[in-house]
Symmetry: C2
Subunit: 313 residues, 2 copies
Amino acid sequence: MRAVTIDEGRIEIRDHPDPEPGAGEVLVRVRAAGLNGGDMMQRRGLYPAPPGAPQDIPGLELAGEVAALGSGAARFAEGDRVMAVVAGGGQAELAVVHERLAMPVPDALGWPDAGGFSEVFTTAHDALFTQAGLGSGEHLLVHGAAGGVGTAAVQLGGAAGARVTATVRNDALRAGVAELGAAVIEPEGFEAHGPFDVILELVGAPNLAPNLGALATWGRIVVIGISAGAQAELNLGALMGVRGTVRGSTLRPRPLEEKAMAARAVERHVLPLMEGGAARVPIADTFPLDEAEAAYDRFAEGGKLGKVVLTVD
Amino acid sequence: MRAVTIDEGRIEIRDHPDPEPGAGEVLVRVRAAGLNGGDMMQRRGLYPAPPGAPQDIPGLELAGEVAALGSGAARFAEGDRVMAVVAGGGQAELAVVHERLAMPVPDALGWPDAGGFSEVFTTAHDALFTQAGLGSGEHLLVHGAAGGVGTAAVQLGGAAGARVTATVRNDALRAGVAELGAAVIEPEGFEAHGPFDVILELVGAPNLAPNLGALATWGRIVVIGISAGAQAELNLGALMGVRGTVRGSTLRPRPLEEKAMAARAVERHVLPLMEGGAARVPIADTFPLDEAEAAYDRFAEGGKLGKVVLTVD
């Protein structure tokens, strides 16, 4: 099979042996696979794939048809449309996925949508609800809301009855995020729009102190992206004063059972939104697998609303 | 009535008008009232009493007999032994307490024990269980474990089936904390004894970075004391890596209903431990009300195991 291959920072398409599904796994003929920040970090050598995942084939999410079943796999049949978060190896013609991590693709989602759905919606749903316990009537702030996770979070927050405010740095993307249901503001001076019950932090360390200053009593900050830096200052007295919480989270290193729990939560609480049209996967651009390097460059240059997705014929 | 009075940093005994119980309140003839870190901060002008509490009479906890009932108060009868967390004014011959904040004093507790129970056991129980969700089999670290909250937390953690490790700076107090059920270690190099599922932080900012380094996956740090400093450094990447949580908490500014919930939790889950002898209130020293200044000086000099309590004849 052919697959995107990272070799010392270069993105190439190379031939690899076809993967074989192990016990409880399905082999997927990939039709679309989204790009994520983790792929960019892996390209730079900063985010090695965990043990057991392909080390040189990136790709944290995929969608396609089940092509073969490993021993004991029983959730899906050959030909079923599935999508999943994977620990790596998604950007290839074939990939293996544990059946407990795979979700059925709703009819409402085409291949690019399905290929760009799993990582960002699972990340956003887990952060907002499982980690932060976002509730109806609360005020949610999403930092860096124009990207894949941000656009997912804005929609999920609104669907849950939260009031959603979003920071977007790029002027050109604000209208698109507003269409998804957020009150869009500039990053500078965002504190004036609080207090916020939940803050989804996708930017990093420089935001932590102003986040805390804008946090409501019993508020929760969930940090899932640190592109602007990791080393933050935290005033513990201020944190005590609002009985606040700062939580960090990431999906990739979690064990199978925790990822499967996250997939089940998305099946139950997010797929109905996609089927009913209450949420969608904003796609900034698609590229065929052969143009993976261009797709990576497009992702890295920023200024996009939603996902960059590779498609495979 | 006579009461401890703070006047520009001085601790004196002065006459004050007798307080009168309002709707839903009880008047308590105080028999014992513990000292807490908050009193020391209030003496230094750093921790003013919240609105509605006596501004110049310190005291965050008390025990005594119900002397009169305000209109509608129905939980207790005159003469009942009660104890409570109060927002201020506890170190006096008389004090008013909302009946929803008062707890019955178990027979097993004498007056000094009861007077030093409420603030520290409520703080420790709320932090360990309501905030951090400490569970059986988890590894708990209590920093600064020789004080009132620390000795309460060590006992509550052990009673809940957690494995308890405790840092104690003062050599002379280690055996006493070990008797309460903790593996006692020096503060320096505590990280080597982890990983810890829950860390109760009573010291402050300098501990935050090593705490994070010693935190187990899904671990929770609850900060309830910052005597060593408030401004901490937090590496968000490390926090994400362990899916960790840093929470700050304090009881005093909470509204009545939240304090009442905390009191009900202590009644249900802690008073049975006191009645059965599974936990006790370590008393470092008692002083009569007239010697309040000596009691404050004793508290401030440190090196004590458990509580300093004022007694009233």
